[in-house]
């Protein structure tokens, strides 16, 4: 049995915002419920009000807008995994979603829920971070845009205020000359990440003209590996430079020891995951090592 709560099913996003503002901090949104119900069962959260967004079709879409893709927060992971637009425009997101959970979970779990749950191990986050995605938030004060790098503030915490809902994710699509890849370390397929890494590179004239790396489950929030990126940008695209840049990951992260892995293991594996993600990203970018 779950703790007691009142259940609300608003008919529109606007109504949901109004309801959440009225109900205040004792209300929680539910989308797929695959994080929230587990937490409520464990007694980790017990909201007095639950506001169900799962039938709001206005936040359930994947739209191709030329150089970017817009994904509604209520889009399920299964819809994302099977979307041709995502496979073409943001293949690294598809790669991460494919490795998440199971079919049964993904038919209901949403991308908005994955981000708003703000687990350091949220697998959708590293791919969206290397794509410099923007999150569109609606609330009582209207609409605002938050770069994904500023969205997470701690484990389970985001910049969302009372009454605010994540409405959509805007993702610049991969361009020609870019390549991206995702690496995940788990005990078995579909389990939560012990550590994960996404990389996106752009190579021109034998050099890394752009390099973006993000990691999951190795800091209080998903993070960009800025030291790794700095060690790559403008440098020749050689395996040696890639390898030594990957070692910088240790200085970018702040892992803890928990049931899934120790701090030391995460440190060592972060380097390996970053290297593998970068190597595959380079190959996908056209593969020309300098």
């Amino acid at each position: 049995m779950l703790p007691e709560f009142e259940y609300h099913r608003p008919a529109s996003l606007e109504e949901a915002v109004r309801l959440l503002s009225e109900l205040g901090p004792d209300a929680k949104v539910i989308a797929g419920g695959t994080d929230l119900v587990v937490k409520m069962r464990a007694g980790l959260v017990s909201p007095r009000h639950v506001v169900d967004l799962s039938r709001l079709t206005e936040i359930r879409f994947i739209r191709d807008e030329g150089d970017r893709l817009k994904i509604g927060a209520g889009t399920t992971l299964w819809e994302i995994e099977n979307s041709r637009e995502v496979a073409r425009g943001v293949p690294v997101l598809r790669e991460a979603v494919e490795e998440m959970a199971s079919w049964h979970v993904k038919t209901t779990a949403t991308i908005g829920g994955n981000l708003c749950n703000a687990s350091p191990a949220a697998d959708a986050a590293p791919p969206l971070m290397v794509h410099d995605a923007t999150l569109v938030v609606v609330g009582p004060e209207g609409r605002r845009e938050v770069p994904i790098g500023e969205f997470f503030t701690g484990p389970g915490q985001t910049v969302l205020g009372v009454g605010e809902i994540l409405a959509e994710v805007v993702v610049p699509k991969m361009r020609r000359g870019q390549g991206a890849a995702f690496e995940k370390l788990t005990v078995r397929e579909g389990a939560l990440s012990i550590a994960s890494a996404a990389a996106l590179v752009e190579i021109s004239g034998g050099r890394f003209v752009d390099a973006r790396v993000a990691l999951g489950a190795v800091a209080p929030t998903p993070i960009r590996a800025l030291k790794v990126e700095r060690a790559l940008k403008g440098r020749p695209a050689t395996r040696e430079i890639l390898r030594s840049a990957s070692r910088e990951a240790k200085a970018d992260i702040k892992p803890i020891t928990d049931v899934r892995g120790s701090r030391e293991y995460r440190e060592e594996m972060s380097v390996v995951l970053v290297r593998r993600a970068l190597e595959r990203a380079v190959e996908r970018a056209g593969g020309a090592w300098a």
Binding site: L2, V50, W78, A101, W103, E189
Partner: protein, 171 residues
């Protein structure tokens, strides 16, 4: 906490009942509707024992609020056959391949596999393994389960007649 009246199509028939907002679908199915084929196992989404089909897609009834199925179509293992005489090809294949030992995981596997075969009538072994990775079995070692799904698929392909009438019946 106010009870709510929900109406949904359960195994082909509309049911109407009053549930509390914090009731999970699995509890309503097992305790109020006495459909105990849906198994309560881990309760946290990891095992697939509580799988039901919601509008044809597999979902975990241990993570689904009962209020959420209002107006929708739910299929449980009880909805597939009325008795031994009209088992589905998938159910027969599970028996013939010895894919059932203690049987606790079987309803979840069969419903998942049924949804898979509707989506993809001729899956590869790799695809079957991907689709059922959310279903755990502590007895069989999975080999016989995969074999059963393949057998049901190939029998369905063999028995399918060409022409406009071909295709799976909808449940």
């Amino acid at each position: 906490m106010e009870p709510r009246v929900i109406r949904f199509r359960l195994n082909g028939e509309w049911v109407r009942l009053s549930v509390m907002p914090n009731e999970l679908l699995i509890n309503v199915l097992r305790e109020k509707l006495h459909l105990t084929g849906t198994k309560y196992w881990c309760g946290i989404g990891e095992c697939g024992g509580c799988t039901v089909l919601l509008d044809g897609e597999p979902v975990l009834s241990c993570l689904t609020l009962a209020v959420d199925v209002d107006g929708r179509k739910v299929t449980t293992i009880e909805g597939l056959a009325t008795g031994e005489d009209d088992l589905t090809p998938l159910q027969r294949a599970f028996i013939e391949e010895g894919a059932i030992q203690c049987g606790f995981c079987t309803p979840g596997f069969i419903l998942t596999a049924q949804a898979l075969l509707r989506e993809n009538p001729n899956p590869t072994e790799e695809e079957i393994r991907e689709y059922v990775r959310g279903n755990l079995c502590r007895c069989t070692g999975y080999v016989s389960i995969i074999r059963a799904v393949k057998r049901a698929a190939s029998e369905a392909v063999k028995s399918r007649r060409p022409g406009p009438a071909a295709g799976a019946a909808s449940g």
